[in-house]
Amino acid sequence: MRWLLLKDLQILRRSPLQAVLLVLYPVLIAILVGLAVSRGPEKPRVAFLNEVPANARISLSGQKLPTANVQQRICERVECVRVRSREEAVRKVEAGDVLAALILPEDLVDKINSLATFTPGTPKVEVLVNESDPLKSSAVNDKITALLAQANLAIAKRIAVEGGKYLNLVIRGGNLPVLGGGIHILGLQASAHILAALEPALPRGPLRVALAQVTEFATEAGENLDIAGPLLDRLAEPIAVHKVAIGGSSPPLETFAIAVAATLTLAFVTVLLVAGSLALEREENAYPRLTRGLVSSEALLGEKVLLGVAVGLVVTILMLAGLTIFTPLEWGRFGLWLAAILLGGAALAAAGAALGAVAREVRAVSLLAFMVTLPVAFLSLVPSGTVGAGLFDVIKVITAIFPFKPALEAITAALEAGNGTIGTPLLHLAILVLAYALIARLALRRFARV
């Protein structure tokens, strides 16, 4: 078997394009994934025109509230390109310099302030989007909508805080700042105490009964309005999110992305190499000569699987090593990495051998390997809940038959502690090794036939 392995490695060395692709492909994947996981998503460029006067403030009952820093909040989330006029904003959107333009009109704060009057207006901001690209347009719309929702929330919270202060003043009393000075507000609670103290001094009669009613009202109001404060707070954000993780821990996005890159590399390198190498034995007319007593069909299959595992292991480890430039990996778990890559590689190699034995011709094999591996890899990444239950069940069956998903699960679990158990996917892979080896062996019965 070792001489056949040596022969296959010699052939690989003699096929510069194939060898270069085998090395370049994972390097390229590693660089792309590395860049993706080490740098945050680029902020979309948005033209920003703020026509609101600098000293304009949202006010409550004539009192100006502290700034909610809406502009700052927006520009933290997008790359704001300052423009001087609406026309300039339109030009930039049309030219594609920016994805969209956000215009805060001059009367925005006035309109917001009018909400607390008898003639409320409708505060509006203007968003300019280039609709020529539907995907981009949709993404920008979503982003701007989310940004404005956050701005609305910030303003609402600020109003709620200020409203709460006034409510507190009414209940407990205190100083109300007015025009640089201040007015002392007695407050409902203090008023109730004073009234209660005055009550015994009044002669029994209708006046005392009326005072008692006012005292009771002040007491009740003071006590019950207390709950209005928290209510006002909640009004700004009535529904809070309480996230509970169910169904196991999910790996960090970086780890999962690295596992996907490693499994994709392992899958393509192994499946293509093994399937192509086996088909080459037939294309070179060597298979009948080899199996005429020199090598058994089982040994030949074993050699091909070993070739796929060896090359897949080297390339995948190299790729992981390359990724450490971008993000740290737990090299202390190298033993588990090896187990996952070796068994994942063996299952993928056995699947490649089955494909090679069935398709028989090198060109057909390459096409078949791509046609099988790529869709299965994509299907393996479809999360539950994103498609219908019935369709997801079908996807689960398909992805359980091909080794990509269990290999991905094993590698994900191996890369970092807490990413799920590794035992189950390894067992799954071991079963697939046997199943695909059997299929390959059966397919070899008709391998040499023309």
Binding site: W3, L4, L6, K7, Q10, I11, R14, S15, E284, N285, A286, P288, R289, L290, R292, G293, L294, V295, A448
Partner: protein
């Protein structure tokens, strides 16, 4: 069997069926050590099937096959070589797979035998068809066979290379290797075969020398004069006489 000595190979009543079609119908023949046997016949006669059964690639559905001492070497019609390996790497691989005690010595021997010692480091894909066929045969000889089976070995070779190939094969036979080869080239069969085995529709029609076939045409065929023209004409007359 010519010579009447101990047979290197003997087939008795070989039958092979592909589905409902009988590719071989009770073919019997024997070959002596050092003998060159040409298997000839029209397309679909069963030549490749017969050689594949003799080589052990296919199993017969009936009949018996007796082999003398020593291995059977098989050289398929299309060169069974790794085209991206060098001449030497190909020979070394198969010598190792044959478990030769000194594979490198065997490689040197085969390089000398095939006359390709100077081209040992060349990638096989860059060699001419004739030289690829010589390596193909050399690999077949690595098993140290007492019987060498060649399936249409001269196909695609120009006359000069064909002549060199047959010189090489004749040398093997001269050293005691029984060579059984199939060919479409009737003149080649006449020139290099000690005996001819004529197959048609899976049946062995004739087993004897070229001169004996001419004699049979003279004796039996309606156009007996064909026997004295070129051998291909005599052969076609024989087939016609036998209803093929």
């Amino acid at each position: 069997m010519a010579g009447g000595t101990t047979a290197a190979l003997e087939a008795r009543g070989l039958i092979k069926r592909y589905g409902g079609r009988e590719a071989l119908r009770g073919v019997s023949f024997a070959a002596a050590p050092g003998e060159l046997v040409a298997v000839i016949g029209p397309n679909g006669a069963g030549k490749t099937t017969l050689l594949s059964i003799l080589a052990g690639i296919l199993g017969p559905d009936g009949g018996e096959l007796a082999l003398g001492a020593g291995a059977v070497g098989w050289v398929p019609q299309q060169a069974a070589l790794y085209r991206r390996l060098t001449v030497e790497e190909n020979l070394l691989l198969f010598a190792r797979l044959e478990k030769h005690p000194d594979p490198r010595a065997s490689v040197e021997e085969m390089l000398a035998l095939s006359g390709l010692g100077e081209r040992r480091d060349e990638i096989v894909a860059r060699l001419s068809g004739g030289n690829q066929q010589r390596i193909n045969i050399a690999i077949g000889l690595l098993a140290r066979p007492s019987v060498l089976l060649l399936d249409e070995p001269s196909v695609g070779l120009d006359p000069r290379r064909r002549a060199r190939l047959w010189e090489f094969v004749a040398g093997l036979a001269g050293r005691g290797t029984t060579v059984i080869f199939s060919t479409h080239d009737i003149q080649e069969a006449e020139r290099y075969g000690d005996r001819l085995l004529v197959l048609a529709d899976g049946e062995a029609l004739f087993d004897g020398s070229a001169e004996e076939l001419r004699e049979a045409v003279r004796r039996e065929a309606a156009d007996g004069a064909a026997a004295d023209r070129d051998f291909e004409t005599a052969f076609v007359a024989y087939l016609h006489h036998r209803g093929h």
